[in-house]
């Protein structure tokens, strides 16, 4: 498999090559569905089942992923971290990558899978993307300042998508 030149596509290709079960959420998911916002990191929710966590670890090894909070220490996530519902904010050799065990009020990969749509990301690369309706519902239930700020744009984007 040829590695995509784009860094974000290359991260996704690595995850797919390792057969990681994941879906794209957050700003990238919103932008891919037409929301006019800027984003600077790639957020994914991964399945926390043990087999998938092993695959995630293999992919992260290839991506040379370390925790972003203290990059000088080069701390790497372990299986116990990836099995938890917590958020692992990482820096890979290709850029930032956030691995989320759950989002909103405890919504996991299996909870969200039915609310994801499949998109092509290249000739032989497909990814699952969380739909806008669920993104809005999650931001509403979380209610944080940052999440509230994005809501008007997401709601209007959803309205326009429904009109189209």
């Amino acid at each position: 498999m040829q590695t995509p030149r784009n860094r974000n596509l290359a991260i996704l290709q690595t995850l797919v090559d390792h057969q990681v079960e994941f879906l794209i959420v957050g700003g990238v998911a919103a932008v891919l569905q037409g929301a006019p916002i800027n984003t600077f990191d790639l957020d994914i929710v991964h399945s926390t089942n043990p087999a998938n966590v092993s695959r995630v670890l293999a992919a992260l090894g290839e991506l040379d992923a370390i925790y972003r909070a203290q990059p000088d220490l080069r701390l790497r996530p372990a299986a116990s971290h990836l099995s938890s519902p917590g958020h692992q904010l990482l820096l890979t050799r290709l850029g930032p990558l956030d691995l989320l065990g759950s989002i909103g009020i405890g919504r996991t990969y299996s909870d969200l899978l039915g609310h994801a749509t499949e998109m092509k990301a290249g000739p032989s690369l497909s990814v699952r993307v969380l739909d806008l309706e669920t993104q809005i519902a999650i931001k509403e239930e979380v209610g944080g300042e940052k999440d509230q700020a994005a809501l008007p744009i997401l709601r209007r984007t959803l309205e326009e998508r429904r009109k189209a």
């Binding site: 932008v31 984003t39 203290q70 701390l75 790497r76 996530p77 971290h81 092509k120 990301a121 000739p123």
Partner: protein, 64 residues
């Protein structure tokens, strides 16, 4: 010693902002920051092109 567990427990500020991302962006040069933004823009265009069902202009028409 700072453990991975401590880092993973509270990655965001009380306002929900990811400070680690801001610090990482601040560690880059302005040119590198633009490159990050460009990379995301290129990524979105590549995915949109891959999912395009009909030919549409990639850029908005000139305003002038």
């Amino acid at each position: 010693m700072l453990s991975c567990d401590r880092i993973a427990m509270s990655p965001y500020g009380s306002d929900g902002v990811d400070v680690t991302l801001i610090r990482w962006m601040l560690s880059l040069t302005p040119a590198e920051r633009l490159a990050v933004l460009q990379d995301f823009t290129d990524f979105v265009w590549e995915v949109r092109d891959a999912n395009a069902t009909e030919s549409k202009p990639r850029h908005p028409p000139d305003a002038g």
